[in-house]
């Protein structure tokens, strides 16, 4: 295993130290392991907390800041954060208007966020939990009952974050988040597997010219393995899968997401193919974003996410955001 680390056991803690050094504008609690906006809690503002296993950076810590998350809880690599950690983050951002937990649908995350929400309720903090389950590739999977939460998490956090920033109440912010999730679908391809520091070798073996269609962000199996095909064909298959699973009767937000090891030049090529095919299918693109946002360590792979965007969602998408990983208009 070749990685820029010191000891596999310390990667998450030391990366958190480095995140703090890189982003003095945020508050990093290295003891309780959460990242929060410096101005949290803001009285009267609904707090947004997300989190999950590390290894998907910039998700979630990179999305903490004005207009998006109030706090993020990084677990160990590909491992859920623990309830006490989530509770500490929830407390840190509760401004009296309640807190929304944005939770990717993995069994460990769901369980630990639920426990944290119950502990928060005991302290008088009202929590609304929003599940993200946008991955259309498989119905159930290794670590999930139901669909996995992947690329749409970024859209949920951005749009719900904007709604909270402008003063939306707890029910409104949670509803905005749920609406984005319901309107979104994702599909991913892996060319290679990720190597976790603890395992020291790739999470699965892919023969020389094979790829995994519908892979999950922890390397979970998807629909099947197949021979590598031209990008144009892979993009069409992925978009067909999304368009078959979700109703798309109008403009979309398109996310072309790299899984960590894919060069940006390939993601741009994919974006071009996606734009061409969506035009053929009569699906207008209202907004688009290209980059490595919801990753799987060093996995060479990509995912496409479409969100059927209402005018209101587009308005909230365009609202100012100021985070390490996503920034515009402010």
């Amino acid at each position: 295993m070749k990685k820029f680390i010191n000891d596999p056991a310390d990667v998450v803690a030391q990366a958190l130290d480095g995140f703090a050094a890189a982003h003095p504008e945020l508050r990093v609690d290295t003891a309780q392991r959460y990242i929060a906006r410096a101005d949290a809690p803001r009285p009267g503002k609904v707090g947004l907390v997300s989190g999950g296993g590390s290894g998907h950076e910039p998700l979630h810590a990179g999305f903490v800041g004005a207009g998006m998350l109030d706090a993020a809880c990084p677990g160990e690599i590909f491992t859920s954060p623990v309830p006490d950690q989530i509770l500490a983050a929830t407390r840190a951002v509760d401004g009296g208007a309640g807190v929304v937990h944005i939770v990717k649908n993995y069994t460990g995350d769901v369980l630990n966020f639920q426990l944290a929400a119950e502990l928060a309720a005991d302290e008088g903090i009202t929590v609304e939990t929003v599940l993200v389950d946008d991955d259309v590739a498989v119905q159930d999977s290794t670590w999930t009952a139901g669909r996995r939460g992947t690329g749409a998490t970024l859209l949920v956090e951005k749009i719900a974050g904007a709604r909270a920033e402008e003063g939306g109440g707890l029910a409104e912010v949670a509803a905005a988040a749920r609406e984005v999730n319901a309107a979104s679908g994702s599909f991913a391809y892996a060319l290679t597997a990720a190597t976790t520091p603890a395992a020291g070798r790739p999470g699965f073996e892919l023969p020389g010219d094979e790829i995994e269609a519908g892979v999950g962000i922890h390397g979970e199996p998807g629909r099947h393995r197949e021979r590598l095909r031209p990008a144009r064909e892979l993009v069409r298959t992925a978009l067909d899968a999304i368009l078959a699973a979700k109703p798309f009767d109008g403009p979309v937000i398109l996310l072309v997401n790299g899984l960590g090891g894919t060069p940006l030049i390939e993601l741009y090529l994919i974006c071009g193919e996606a734009a061409r095919y969506l035009a053929e299918r009569g699906v207008p693109i209202a907004r688009r974003l290209v980059g490595n946002y919801v990753t799987s360590l060093d996995m060479a792979g990509m995912s496409l996410t479409l969100c059927r965007a209402t005018d209101e969602m587009i308005r909230l998408w365009d609202a100012p955001v100021r985070t390490p990983g996503l920034r515009w208009g402010a």
Copy 2:
């Protein structure tokens, strides 16, 4: 070779189509192969043009926009743009106040930008050329006489871009760019080699546990190969090399740059180590940036860049920038 492409011969052209689809706010001339600000040329503003081989994205196309470059010329993968292409971009952004060419010090780039500058002069466009040669690892290399241009290119483009945006004249903008380059040093490590689409296999072979110290952004050899060591030691060696080569008597801008295939979590860990060691060495960090900015396709690797920053450089660094790859304050 596993890549998201259609045909190795069409990668750059198709990625440019995709870039245009992703960034409708910019003007992409796919025939003449340059990317320009939509509002170029701006009368009276000094134009900034850069370019170089593709495969280093977001450099340079991703740095076109308000407060940074006016245009970028992408060559084929790891291949200089051609003079006509550079001339077309220069023409497109000349607002009558002259144009600065920011050129990484590689023989092909230097030659082709020089030819383009001469052709532009024939048309009455005054061009100032600024060479970037920040890589302290080697004095000469495979494709250079003198030091290579690497991570500092981002700093030069940002700071000179801000100076041009606020109305600096041709000599002032060129001087700002040269000052940043002179004040900067970089050093890189590769864990793996990049694979170009044309070659279809890694550019060099690195045995299981070996790394290349001082690698270039095309995979050119650096100082030597060595066994992989803990990140802490690699960071110290890299910073020692930079601090030995350049005078650092005050605050720096620190760039922790991934070479394409390195996960962000490792870059944050590196940032933490760099911050700790610079504190030990008594070098204050004024500003810092962490991410994949000057890449080498899918190479797993990282570079560190330090720029001894004057108050004026920091003021220009903080100025608003609105590009696909770098964005703040606007």
